[in-house]
Symmetry: C2
Subunit: 127 residues, 2 copies
DNA sequence: CTTAAAAATAGGAATCATTACTATTTATGA
DNA sequence: TCATAAATAGTAATGATTCCTATTTTTAAG
């Protein structure tokens, strides 16, 4: 008996799938409480971590010091607006070639890379 | 009168310049206390932040949830060993071209990127 | 349909890195 | 020398996250 169904976990994952703005645990908590009023914050954290560990969601870490979560587990990149803080998915090819570049002068084994971009988003640039 | 000299700040920066392993604030604190026994942890944090803000050092954030600091302010990339946690400088060319790749399908303004690599370092691979 | 055991939960306490606060000390331009 | 802005030490506060525990829920098996 490894993983047991729980309504809370289902609701958390369902909510995350409706969002493409990569909410934090607290945002998930706030929203999920509408549908499940006495869910606890600990349960939200535990399930987000668990779902990330088994690969059903992705945990994203930028430099705001708060974890963000993404139901889209495909490899893709993100843009963080330094003005409004919005996190936007980028449609672009894989950057796996940069690992080869990094490996050229390195004697360890490079297995992955973390990359995100920052700047001013389209909406902020207008105002 | 904007920035005033302080012995504590000098000692912190001097220590950081002797290290190329990107220590955390706590590590800086532990070491600097040898030379300056009653420096306070808050002073270490305040000065590391200040030095980073004025560009004399660099603040690095990986996914261990703790800030690391680097006296080398030149643009360069890092490798994090997932086994021993060591952070190693990589000698490689700039990856600025990836910002062009990212910008192709994006209507905002990309001003920078954060990239680091992870895997198994040379030492860990031997054992 | 029971039932027992493992897994999950709610609620709250604990942790840990970091920042904020405040009375005191220090650096420095006049 | 002196006035004052800046910095410090020490401690309290913050905020995200994890841990703890008694209780509840899921589920496999009889």
């Amino acid at each position: 008996m490894a993983l047991k169904y729980s309504r809370q976990r289902q609701v958390i994952k369902d909510f995350l799938m409706t969002r493409k703005d990569h909410p934090t645990a607290d945002t998930v908590y706030m929203n999920v409480r509408n549908e499940y009023p006495n869910i606890s914050l600990g349960t939200v954290y535990r399930n987000l971590s668990l779902l990330a560990d088994i690969g059903e969601i992705q945990r994203l870490r930028f430099d705001d010091g708060v974890d963000h979560f993404d139901a889209d587990t495909s490899a893709h990149y993100h843009f963080v607006c330094t003005q409004c803080g919005r996190i936007i998915d980028l449609r672009m090819d894989s950057l796996d070639h940069i690992m080869d570049l990094a490996g050229r002068s390195f004697d360890g084994e490079i297995r992955g890379h973390v990359t995100y971009f920052h700047g001013i988003c389209g909406d902020c640039r207008e105002s």
